[in-house]
């Protein structure tokens, strides 16, 4: 699941990609991924074209390739799953290096790998070039229910605080000579989790008090809003539009 701290995902920069309003970027990434997913898997060259498009964006955003590749590791479980597909899928079989593999399975594995990787790569680029707060503003601008945006905002604000409490509890356990080694120790860990829940919930109550004390009456005031010019929209949508062209070409050629 969530590995590492949220703020390490963002790379501060002043590139044109960073400067785009967040909601245009969110829309662009989402449309891009939809286009990728709708591409016929037989059009292998199309996926290469998509990868090139993303690489161009990454270059423009000055995201170092190594950083980008490292973040791609998140999809390792799926690579493993995809590699199993040729062995278990149905349909006609073919022999590769002495192993009988399903043709369908091979296509399926390719499909999952190519589309999954492009999806992850696009999301990673989004997270690397968009600040957490901007991301929330973008979601708000895209008309996500305000309550949902608020919950997400609180989650991000307090994610670190709660994680930190959890870490301190771990240190406190270890300082008293406790180290969880097996199932027998689950009780103690679960007690920590329970305490963490109580602390989180009570903090939620205190935060609510603090909000009410400053005049909160059920709806968050919109303090910041983001707007995008036509040029910015064009810039952001260049990615999914060129991808769409590739996709359409893929459908007509295959």
């Amino acid at each position: 699941m969530g590995a590492g701290h949220a703020h390490r995902l963002y790379r501060h920069g002043r590139s044109p990609v960073h400067a785009l309003p967040p909601h245009t970027k969110l829309t662009a990434v989402f449309c891009f991924v939809v286009v990728v997913v709708s591409t016929p898997r037989e059009a292998m060259w199309a996926f290469a074209a998509y990868a090139l498009l993303l690489a161009a964006v990454a270059y423009a955003a000055r995201v170092p390739p190594l950083f980008w590749l490292k973040r791609l590791l998140i999809e390792v479980p799926f690579v493993a799953f995809a590699l199993l597909l040729p062995f278990v899928a149905e349909g006609g079989r073919t022999d590769v290096l002495g192993m009988s593999l399903s043709v369908h399975g091979l296509w399926g594995a390719w499909n999952v790998l190519a589309k999954g990787t492009l999806g992850v790569a696009a999301s990673v680029l989004l997270a690397a070039t968009t600040d957490l707060r901007e991301l929330l503003l973008g979601l708000q601008r895209l008309r996500l229910p305000p309550l949902l945006v608020q919950i997400a905002s609180f989650m991000i604000r307090y994610g670190d605080v709660v994680t930190d409490e959890m870490r301190r509890m771990k240190i406190a356990r270890e300082s008293r000579g406790f180290e969880a080694r097996g199932v027998r120790h689950w009780g103690v860990l679960a007690k920590s989790a329970g305490a963490l829940f109580i602390r989180s919930y009570e903090r939620g109550e205190r935060v609510h008090l603090a909000m009410v004390s400053r005049g909160y009456a059920g709806s968050m005031p919109v303090i910041d809003d983001v707007t995008a010019s036509r040029a910015q929209w064009t810039g952001a949508l260049a990615l999914p539009l060129s991808a769409l062209a590739v996709c359409l070409l893929g459908w007509t050629l295959s």
């Binding site: 969530g2 949220a6 957490l132 949902l148 989650m155 959890m166 329970g194 963490l196 109580i198």
Partner: protein
Amino acid sequence: MHVPDGFINAPVSLAAGAVAAGAVAVSLRGARRELGGTSRSSAAESGGERTAPLAGLVAAFIFAVQMLNFPVAAGTSGHLLGGALAAILVGPFTGVLCVSVVLLMQGLLFADGGLTALGVNITVMAVVTTVVAYAIFRGLAKVLPRGRRSVTAAAFTAALVSVPAAAAAFTLVYAIGGTTEVSIGKVATAMIGVHVLIGVGEAAITALTVGAVIAVRPDLVHGARGLTAPLKLRVGGELVDAPAAPGAGAAAPLPAAAARSHRKLWAAGLVASLVLAGFVSFYASQEPDGLEKVAHDKGFDKGEKEHGAADSPLADYGVKDITDARLSGGLAGVIGVGVTVVAGSAVFWAVRRRRDGEGPDAVEAGPASTAVDTASAPTATAPTATAPTGSAPTTSTPTSSATKPAENA
């Protein structure tokens, strides 16, 4: 369990997205009610304005607790998925919201789970898990005698079933929109089999955690309201029973009365369907179907590794045939019962709410029936998919009736 892009085809992803959006919309309304007045701190403030900070903090908690490692043995460890825990601690609506927000943020920030698969992920992991867990938890809490031990037992069972139920839901989605043709029976067996094991871990941790919370702040366990001791007033140094506050009074005696009248019904129904499903599927799977036999003969299952409730990369999506086909069939049957119970309670609630004439409350059946909605869809494709599990017959009957309230909800 996070599904990446390209795993499920575009139309089904979109449909799942619509289901997820609907479930979240219903939960947004329901959560306002759930987070109304649980707190110790005065009743002066009430209603929906508490939702954002409380649900946000609970989401942060779920996010954090997913990073808490529970060592199993020999260097492997597992972690909590949290859906069942959220449902029991803060109620199904808030649970759905919190897990959905966690999934949304994981998708956007960590690229964990594809953006187009967000609908599938929310439907499977936030909605199905939470709703199944809550339905089973409440059902058991009504059947079992009152007390902390019962709450723990109910939490255990709820979490145990919720994980394979999510796996079953995923299989159903995969059956409709999977991009690779794999025998659905095989996917189901593997997914559900592995997730039963994961479910055992999830169940133990959830039960222990709920137990830990209930020992300190029983008022915070949403699913166990009405189990707390009556309030006392100190008048001149002596303890006197407090007159039941209107809010607390409504919560406590009502389920008690309802529980008595429905407890027998629940118990009988649960036991009967469990036995039936177990037996039927046990014998139904005596003859594994042709494809599976081929798989066994060709020895596909040899290459597959043993997985516990492990945190290893393969664990979440690992493919592992349970060697005893009968046993796996039986398990699938029991899970079928779980889904049945959910469907049944959804209908039951929907009908009762409507009869009570409480307009806004009628939506409470919403997420339950949405979950069932996805469950019912594959019954249509079942003939083509040649589903070998015995669960199909048991699920199909109630789901078809459950889709009706879902349409109006």
